[in-house]
């Protein structure tokens, strides 16, 4: 029993019950209900999505911004890099990237609120950053395809597993979802017991 209890103390606090998910939802809703933080979330989501898609084509993005092009040409190139507007991603991959970007927006808004209004926990901010990096890797691997994943997985002796990856590398984006959910959970836990817009952060 003592061993079990010790092990539990050493494991990260994970969202396991419905109350955890409801707390995350309520906290996010309260933060996003403040117009300033809604704007922060929107800006962060757009910035996150832009980071994901331009990381795949930095030379092209640089050419669009600095090359000898008309304004219309620049906009056509930049617009084409985004999911659903361009054709680089299929609908599932596009939806996944937009979803991750939206999560980034919510997560950043909550982290900024927590930074400004409460004493923020370092690991929550770090997890948010890790999630953004993972999402970028996911977008990147969608373009670099299977071989890089194959090389990475071969380090761990699972080289043939990459052939079974159905998302051409966007599995990293799924990891980003996990990291973002954990970060959001920790932020919500950190804000539990406080108030947002006069409403208690609790269930």
């Amino acid at each position: 029993m003592a061993q079990t209890s010790g092990l539990r103390r050493r494991l990260p606090d994970l969202p396991t019950g419905s109350d955890d998910w409801r707390l995350m939802g309520r906290t996010a809703r309260l933060v996003l209900g403040i117009p300033t933080y809604a704007v922060v979330a929107l800006v962060a989501a757009v910035a996150g999505l832009t980071l994901f898609v331009t990381s795949l084509n930095l030379p092209l993005a640089g050419f669009a911004l600095t090359g000898d092009l008309t304004l219309d040409g620049r906009l056509r190139i930049l617009r084409g890099l985004y999911p659903f507007v361009g054709s680089a991603y299929d609908p599932f991959q596009g939806t996944l990237l937009v979803f991750v970007a939206a999560l980034v927006g919510v997560n950043v808004a909550m982290a900024v609120y927590h930074f400004r209004e409460h004493a923020v926990s370092v690991e929550s901010g770090g997890a948010s950053l890790a999630a953004v990096l993972l999402a970028t890797l996911g977008a990147g691997c969608a373009a670099c395809g299977v071989p890089i994943l194959l090389a990475i997985l071969s380090i761990f002796g699972v080289s043939s597993a990459a052939l079974l990856l159905p998302l051409d590398g966007l599995e990293f984006a799924l990891l980003a979802v996990v990291a973002l959910v954990l970060s959001t959970h920790w932020l919500a836990e950190g804000m539990r017991g406080g108030e947002i817009r006069g409403c208690p952060v609790d269930l």
Binding site: G62, A64, V122, L137, C144
Partner: protein
């Protein structure tokens, strides 16, 4: 708290390992790519690609000997040099979604040339398929384009074991080439020099280990590199159309 920090530290370590994914030729963003140094560049040193031309850019080596759609490259306002792997799913998306518009709007009108170069780096069956493509091109250009389209259209059905058999069946039924002779050439890699020339050109241009990757030229001058199955508008705008 400590556990969370350890978790994050482990995550950061994993990210460091995975960083190669975005620090490759695409993600690096400096245009230097993952070249082997044969073009005079070293990792981390920006390549002066913007100043290069069809005559000097590594991607355009031996361009006259490559399968081409549209006008000769020295007569075309725009040139797309495409490095593709028949087994690459993203290449298939480019072939399905973007190439038809490129052909009808720019290639068939004589405004741009599209040059195909094989770069088999994805699934293993792409290698024998690339041998078969070069062997077919040596026999007949029309048969080459038909076989290339067939590979992408039926991509999910090929394996390393069946690709040459399936190739022979397709060439025999749909083209006028001597299918058995072409596949025998492919099996014995008699046109391996052409396959290797494409691979070396891709590596020298910093293509890394990804497909599809495209090098765009306008009036003979290199414009930019495009990664992934971007849409027609991106290609047209980047070439000034």
């Amino acid at each position: 708290m400590d556990t969370r920090r350890a978790f994050l530290a482990a995550g950061a370590g994993t990210l460091a390992v995975l960083a190669g994914c975005t620090s490759g030729p695409n993600g690096g963003g400096d245009g230097s790519g993952g070249g082997d140094g044969s073009d005079g560049t070293t990792a981390g040193t920006p390549t002066p690609e913007a100043a290069e031309t069809l005559a000097t850019h590594p991607a355009a080596r031996d361009l006259d000997a490559q399968p081409r759609l549209g006008p000769p490259v020295d007569e075309a306002a725009g040139v797309v040099v495409a490095f593709e792997d028949p087994s690459c799913t993203l290449c298939r998306r480019f072939e399905e979604n973007t190439l038809p518009d490129l052909r009808s709007n720019l290639v068939d009108t004589g405004d741009a040339a599209f040059v195909y170069r094989g770069y088999p780096v994805i699934y293993p069956w792409g290698k024998p398929a690339s041998q078969a493509l070069e062997s077919t091109f040596a026999a007949d250009a029309d048969a080459f384009w038909a076989l290339k389209d067939h590979y992408f259209a039926e991509q999910g059905t090929f394996t390393t074991d069946n690709v040459l058999e399936e190739t022979e069946a397709f060439l025999a039924s749909e083209t006028s080439v001597d299918a058995a002779a072409v596949v025998d050439d492919a099996r014995n890699e008699r046109h391996d020099a052409a396959v290797q020339a494409d691979i070396e050109a891709a590596q020298a241009a910093g293509a890394g280990s990804q497909t599809p990757i495209f090098y765009l030229f306008r009036d003979g001058e290199f414009q930019t590199r495009v990664s992934g199955p971007q849409g027609y508008d991106v290609f047209a705008a980047a070439m000034g159309f």
